[in-house]
Symmetry: C2
Subunit: 141 residues, 2 copies
DNA sequence: GTAGATGCAAACTTTTTGCAGACTG
DNA sequence: CAGTCTGCAAAAAGTTTGCATCTAC
């Protein structure tokens, strides 16, 4: 029941590792890997198994019905809450110090135990925070 | 370009309003509405338009590739961060006081501006927080 | 009356699966 | 060598669309 490190799995991991902090829809992944020797079924099967292994995270965006995946670098991601910018799409992590504060606030006020690995907080990153922009035909400020 | 309050739209809204705090996959919705007079295309078209109107929120769960929807009661949900229990699936809201604290922590430590309406925090609710359980063949404590 | 919604069936898109052959450890 | 994985093609599942008809306002 152990994973084999096949060519196709390597191709997928290489792709994601060269695009840290970005997410891709399944069809984008298929498109990006067209030039490589990998079948769609291998892509689907590996996406599932990598997600299961915690190496990829599945994401849903507002406005479309697609499935997105993002690489999870266990050394930097494991146990860290993700911050995803709804403008530029870049993902970063909540600092440890801040994570502790968030956890204690939720515990104290709502008796809720946050699961850092499962949680993605959406909003505007430092760079995008100041300017207004259009997403899904709506104006955000 | 204004929405008509059709029978089919009412059926959908009634269904969601009688299941506040729960989410459903598209196929579950179709299954639940089998007995009513509503076609699949009307379901799909209404789900999209209701999502667009902010009356429904689309959710993705770990482990499957389905699309889930949950009702957003604008009076209680608008502007409130959601808390979703990964054990029982029930959704609640972060209290206003706590929301402000969360926002300021993220701003201060990560220069990140949280979007309350887009964010769902996953973890264990008050009731489920104490006990261990199995999800997707994994043991959680 | 008219803009907008519905149902139906067909077209698409996306994802899964069975199986024989190929590859990994 | 044994257990896994792959490609292929077919099937299944999920979603969208065109069009004639119907409904809401």
């Amino acid at each position: 029941m152990r994973n084999y490190n096949t060519q196709q799995r390597k191709i997928l991991l290489d792709f994601f590792r060269s695009h840290l902090d970005e997410y891709f829809s399944t069809s984008e992944i298929i498109g990006n890997l067209k030039e490589y020797d990998i079948s769609n079924s291998a892509i689907y099967r590996n996406l599932s198994s990598l997600e299961n292994d915690g190496k990829l995270k599945r994401i849903s965006k507002n406005g479309d019905r697609k499935t997105y995946y993002q690489y999870i670098d266990s050394s930097t991601c494991k146990g860290h809450i993700h911050l995803s910018c709804i403008k530029c799409g870049i993902t970063t992590h909540v600092s440890d110090r801040a994570s502790e504060k968030l956890a204690s606030v939720l515990k104290e006020y709502n008796s809720f135990t946050i699961d850092n690995d499962e949680t993605v907080i959406y909003g505007l990153c430092k760079k995008c925070g100041g300017s207004s922009f259009v997403l899904n035909s709506k104006l955000f400020r």
